[in-house]
């Protein structure tokens, strides 16, 4: 790790949410091909679907990994939780049986949901409604000499755990997959209030042929991916030659235009950011939070 950052000038502050209860519309989802679908997806606590697991192939839709927390306060407060919680930040359970246990932020969805992973024995003791406090650290992260790269939702912990290297005046970032910009769907533009610091946008997973052509079905939750022709400085949108690096936050979908979510971590349109393929590049691998998996 030879790249200098401004991490000592960043504020460390606590933000908080509680484990969101799953909800249901009482009706079916309609898939891209007109099939009514009744499957679980968002919120709550997932015991067998965590960061590091495959984002495709589950009997689910927009499957959210591990623990999903939301802040039920005012819009200024719940967007503050989502904006200030950075991937790799430490979390602490404030109430309930698992009080005092530590977890890790792994991704975001929409503009309200923040995902936290805990070791399995902690997941089993958590319950819906438990309060989780995030030690937010990372807003404003920047690398010395790379003013053209905007970094967001990325903790200094994750930045330093990843082998991000300076090569010939640009930064090389390991990614599990490089994705064509044309595959990006829901969440483009103003989907999260225009702020790429919040939530995610989706790799469209509703055309089986394209998923196969681009070999996307092996993408895991937590994978660091590089998106071509995508600029995510202050909103997410197409821009030739730009690159967005992000983390896969939630699972695939059968709704048209939807699919696994990507929370942007870095963005650049001047060629200073270079994704380099490394199939291990996953938040759980870099932060060593899934020792049970054979990376």
């Amino acid at each position: 790790m030879d790249v200098k950052t401004n991490k000592d000038r960043l504020v460390q502050l606590s933000v908080m949410g509680s484990i969101q209860p799953p909800t249901s519309s009482g009706s079916y989802r309609t898939t891209f091909d007109g099939t009514p679908l009744l499957v679980p997806g968002g919120a709550g606590i997932k015991l067998n679907f965590r960061v590091g697991d495959c984002a495709y192939g589950w009997v689910s839709d927009h499957f959210e990994p591990g623990v999903c927390i939301v802040n039920t306060g005012t819009p200024r407060e719940f967007t503050a939780l989502n904006a200030f919680a950075c991937v790799g930040n430490e979390t602490r359970v404030i109430s309930g049986d698992a009080q005092g246990e530590k977890g890790t932020v792994t991704g975001k969805h929409g503009w309200t949901k923040t995902f936290v992973d805990f070791p399995m024995e902690v997941l089993k003791r958590l319950t819906i409604g438990d309060k989780i406090q995030v030690h937010g650290w990372g807003v404003g992260l920047a690398t010395e000499g790379y003013d053209d790269i905007r970094i967001m939702s990325m903790s200094p912990q994750l930045f330093e755990a990843m082998p991000i290297n300076e090569v010939d005046g640009h930064l090389e970032v390991p990614v599990a997959k490089i994705i064509e910009g044309r595959m990006m769907g829901s969440g483009m533009g103003g989907g999260s209030g225009g702020m790429p610091d919040l939530g995610d946008f989706d790799i469209q997973s509703t055309c089986p042929e394209l998923t196969e052509t681009y070999d996307l079905s092996g993408i895991r939750i937590g994978d660091i991916v590089g998106i071509k022709d995508m600029f995510s400085h202050y909103a997410r949108g197409i821009y030739p030659e730009a690159v967005t690096i992000g983390v896969v936050s939630h699972g695939a979908s059968a709704s048209t235009g939807h699919g696994p979510g990507v929370s942007p971590l870095m963005s650049c349109r001047t060629g200073k950011l270079m994704p380099v393929e490394n199939d291990k590049s996953n938040v759980a691998y870099w932060l060593k939070i899934r020792p049970d998996k054979d990376w």
Partner: protein, 296 residues
């Protein structure tokens, strides 16, 4: 110098540690020079910046160094903010840090959210145990503080403890008050015209980098005691020829036009009654013994 300190009521007020907020929900603010900025640092528990640390140089806006305490009810919020004085002791009533003691070091007003909060300093090992929502009680003491024979000197938000620790001297009806800096009144921005100068803070504008440099504002620290000339905080904040106020730096710098480090007024009078004496150690953290780790 005699005061009415033994006639002042000591009473408990309590609030809770409030959640951080964005200046604009789901959006950036626009800085004075037209850049989008994510406003981090308003509300909540700040772990790595405390009273005594520099106000500038953080990726933040209106940063509260320490813990922000308020109440959702506007009336209770104003009571906590009015009666809490800089230097009053605070105690955590609930949660893992129950029983932990802190000290009030500032008062702020969140302009976008229209709410008042007090800033409480805790030792780093105690900060780690705090949680948003924890109840914090202040032993409020200081409202109404006055100096015998100086009825034109208005004092508020100043605890008897800090008043004494500052070593203010009087000679010939003139108070010698230690300050780190004397700021001209035309630098004051948001907060001018807001009634209730005994609550919250008003801002020294930091949106002109040239003025920040020429006035040495970049050296300001959280907790610094500063004087501002040609203004009044007697019964509201505004311009006043030969008026002078003394305040405590309560929140950090800003890049929003018209905003900047917030100062909570503690003394308001006319120049004939006061002589600000520049002393680099004039900081609430120094006087209250809160930053033993600093060399001062």
């Amino acid at each position: 110098m005699n005061t009415n300190v033994d006639k002042l009521v000591k009473m408990k007020v309590n609030g809770e540690i409030i959640h951080p907020e964005l200046w604009v929900e789901r959006n950036y603010v626009t800085t004075w020079d037209g850049r989008p900025k994510l406003t981090v640092g308003i509300g909540g528990i700040v772990h790595n910046v405390r009273v005594g640390d520099p106000v500038f140089g953080w990726y933040a806006d209106h940063l509260n160094a320490g813990v922000a305490v308020s109440d959702k009810d506007a009336s209770r919020q104003r009571a906590i903010n009015t009666y809490s004085c800089v230097g009053n002791p605070a105690k955590v009533l609930t949660g893992e840090a129950k029983g932990t003691m802190g000290v009030v070091v500032g008062k702020t007003y969140f302009f976008a959210g229209r709410s008042y909060r007090i800033i409480v300093d805790f030792q780093p090992e105690d900060l780690a145990k705090l949680a948003i929502g924890d109840k914090v009680e202040v032993e409020a003491w200081g409202t109404g503080l006055a100096i015998d024979g100086l009825k034109d000197v208005r004092i508020f938000s100043l605890s008897p403890r800090l008043f004494k620790a500052m070593g203010i001297e009087e000679s010939g009806g003139k108070l010698k008050v230690p300050v780190t800096k004397v700021v001209p009144g035309y630098m004051m921005g948001v907060g001018v015209g807001r009634g209730g100068s005994h609550m919250g803070a008003w801002d020294i504008q930091s949106c002109s980098p040239e003025l920040n440099e020429s006035m040495g504002l970049e050296k300001l620290r959280f907790g610094d005691i500063v004087a501002v000339t040609d203004v009044t905080s007697d019964y509201g904040n505004g311009v006043y020829e030969d008026g002078v106020i003394v305040g405590v730096v309560s929140h950090g710098a800003s890049e929003i036009g018209g905003h900047g480090p917030g100062i909570a007024s503690i003394i308001s009078t006319r120049m004939e009654h006061i002589e600000p004496v520049v002393d680099p150690n004039a900081n609430a953290g120094y006087y209250l013994g809160l930053r033993k780790d600093k060399g001062w």
